[in-house]
């Protein structure tokens, strides 16, 4: 089933939604607008000719400096129909995307990871916290304008027992001893 066929099947089920077929090298890709995402997801899951019962991946890609910069990508799997589908939603820097957790519970952590890595807000998500990075981390590392190499001082709950200067001095002292030996 290619993208136009999926769009034709979805058309009557989600009135008022505008779909767009995307280019792809492997399987069908369709773009959907954020406001019709949840209705589309429910139709994709429940329609017998589609039956995308499993959401296998949610991720995003940052196309900075393009506007809107983000694409949130959902990979769907239909076991009874042996189909895969890629669903894409475009999102700007501060545009929220509705959560699809009500349709597929597996979206919960995946959307948390997208928030963590890209800073895309999922509207209606009950527990939108960081998943992989520490809770007090600043910034969203997978954004293209996030630096690759950063230096961060060690974070501890107690003061460090040895300062960085002392540590370096100790290393130097050990090196001198080795040289002298």
């Amino acid at each position: 089933m290619d993208a136009p066929a999926v769009i034709a099947a979805l058309g009557p089920l989600v009135p008022g939604a505008a779909y767009e077929a995307g280019a792809s090298a492997d399987f069908a890709t369709i773009y959907v607008s954020p406001d019709r995402l949840v209705d589309t997801a429910r139709a994709l899951r429940d329609t017998p000719s589609l039956r995308f019962t499993a959401l296998v991946e949610v991720t995003a890609a940052d196309y900075f400096p393009r506007d809107p910069r983000f694409e949130v990508v959902y990979h769907l799997l239909s076991i009874p129909n042996r189909l895969r589908l890629r669903l894409k939603v475009r999102a700007g820097d501060s545009d929220p995307v509705p959560t699809v957790q009500g349709v597929w519970p597996s979206a919960g952590w995946l959307e948390r990871e997208v928030w963590d890595m890209f800073g895309i807000v999922f509207d209606g998500h009950p527990d939108l916290r960081r998943l992989l990075m520490p809770e007090d981390w600043e910034g969203h590392p997978q954004r293209k304008d996030y630096p690759v190499q950063i230096r961060k001082p060690a974070q501890t709950y107690e003061p460090l027992e040895i300062s960085e200067e002392e540590f370096k001095a100790n290393l130097e002292r050990d090196r001198q001893r080795r040289v002298a030996r």
Binding site: V73, R82, R86, P105
Partner: protein, 393 residues
């Protein structure tokens, strides 16, 4: 009794608990022995591999993705090279496909052996770990023979393999395949009818087929509750459609069913390996002949100018991949491993994302163990076969 007051107790399990398979932290709310709620915390092994990969050339990403799921290194790299080859439109020679099938099936056996050893160890069958590791050592030796590296061989490359198979490869694989089926019988003899093992696993950690799919648990966990989905059958890659093998399923959906599924998968993998090794001729093509990706043979580099230039370009600039995106799934030992890649048409990936089956398993953990006993938490974690390097990436 009047005036008797009960309250729940919050217990922290991990991140250094020996049975959490790495660094997974669970916050359990207990009512006596019963688990009322469970909150997993992950991220302790996050190393930012996906961000690092964006700074590397395409070929340099292969060793990086192997370090995600460290027990199934070559499933990761197979998914990655297949997705890049999809964008490049490359078709591999039959021999390369068969070698890839053979190596990844051996990898599946090695990964399942670690699962078997640790899972049985945690339930109390301590000696299983030694028996399982002993057999896995033979597969590590085969890896070393092939690539000089036991854990992360990086043998698969975009465009084929790194080099041809070494001398003695067929003998080593055949010796392992002759020895191993009797060992599976031995393992099953120790566990399958073991009263303690059965009591610890039967009826424990039950999940229904609908729930498994809703939580995205495609793989051995879903096959343990009757879903016969296997990427190798549904969306064949590397010529799996030409191999004769079955997809084992069980109906119960409990820890014991997942154990049965994986034990039968070991036998199916041996079956596939036997067919593959019989098909692989001792010498032949080990890469496709696309000059964009595969460097020319060394004797031509020394004698022909064009070959020298091409060799230099591939090793200095790398190759470019047409703009676009692709997601290629493979059946890894823990379920569907997939890599989503985005290319902007340059020699470095714009974005790569690994679908981590362990992440889904840990996400579904509260749904599986809630209402069960605390001792069953260990059995359930073992049966989901999570690898934290895969989960946190």
């Amino acid at each position: 009794m009047p005036g008797l007051r009960t309250e729940t107790m919050t217990v922290n399990m991990g991140p250094q608990h020996p049975s959490t398979h790495g660094v997974l932290r669970l916050v359990l709310e207990l009512d006596g022995e019963v688990v009322r709620s469970l909150r997993p915390t992950i991220g302790y092994l996050h190393t930012g591999i996906e961000k690092t990969a964006e700074q590397k050339k395409w070929q340099q990403v292969v060793p990086l993705v192997e370090r995600m799921d460290y027990l199934a290194a070559q499933s990761n790299s197979l998914a990655f090279v297949l997705s890049v080859e999809t964008l490049l439109g490359l078709e591999m020679p039959q021999r390369v496909k068969d070698i890839r099938v053979l190596i990844t099936e051996l990898q599946r056996i090695a990964s399942h052996l670690i699962w078997l050893g640790t899972h049985a160890l945690e339930i109390g069958a301590v000696s299983m770990l030694f028996y399982a590791i002993r057999e896995r050592e033979l597969i590590m030796n085969i890896n070393e023979l092939v690539a000089g590296f036991r854990f992360f061989p990086s043998y698969f490359r975009v465009g084929g393999l790194r080099e041809d198979l070494p001398r003695g490869f067929h003998e080593a694989v055949n010796a392992f395949l002759d020895r191993f089926p009797a060992k599976i019988d031995e393992f099953e003899g120790l566990l399958s009818k073991n009263d303690i093992f059965m009591r610890r696993t039967q009826g424990v950690g039950v999940i229904s087929a609908d729930d498994a799919l809703a939580w995205g648990l495609v793989g051995p966990i879903a096959r343990g509750c009757g879903v016969d989905y296997d990427v190798r059958k549904y969306f064949p890659y590397c010529g799996y459609e030409t191999y004769d093998f079955d997809v084992p399923t069980e109906r119960e959906g409990d820890v014991y069913a997942r154990y049965r599924v994986r034990m039968r998968e070991l036998r199916e993998s041996v079956k596939i390996c036997r067919q593959a090794i019989a098909r692989i001729p001792p010498s032949g093509a080990w890469a496709c002949d696309d000059p964009r990706v595969v460097p020319p043979p060394k004797d031509k580099v020394y004698t022909e100018m064009e070959a020298l230039i091409q060799h230099f370009l591939i090793y200095s600039q790398g190759f470019t991949v047409p703009a676009g995106d692709a997601y290629v799934p493979v059946e890894g030992p823990r379920g569907e491993h997939g890599v989503y890649i985005v290319s902007d048409g340059t020699n470095r990936p714009w974005r790569i994302k690994m679908r981590a089956p362990s992440l889904f398993a840990i996400q579904a953990l509260p749904a599986i163990v809630q209402g069960g006993l605390i001792a069953d938490v260990v059995a359930v974690i073992g049966s989901t076969d999570v690898v934290m390097g895969d989960c946190d990436r």
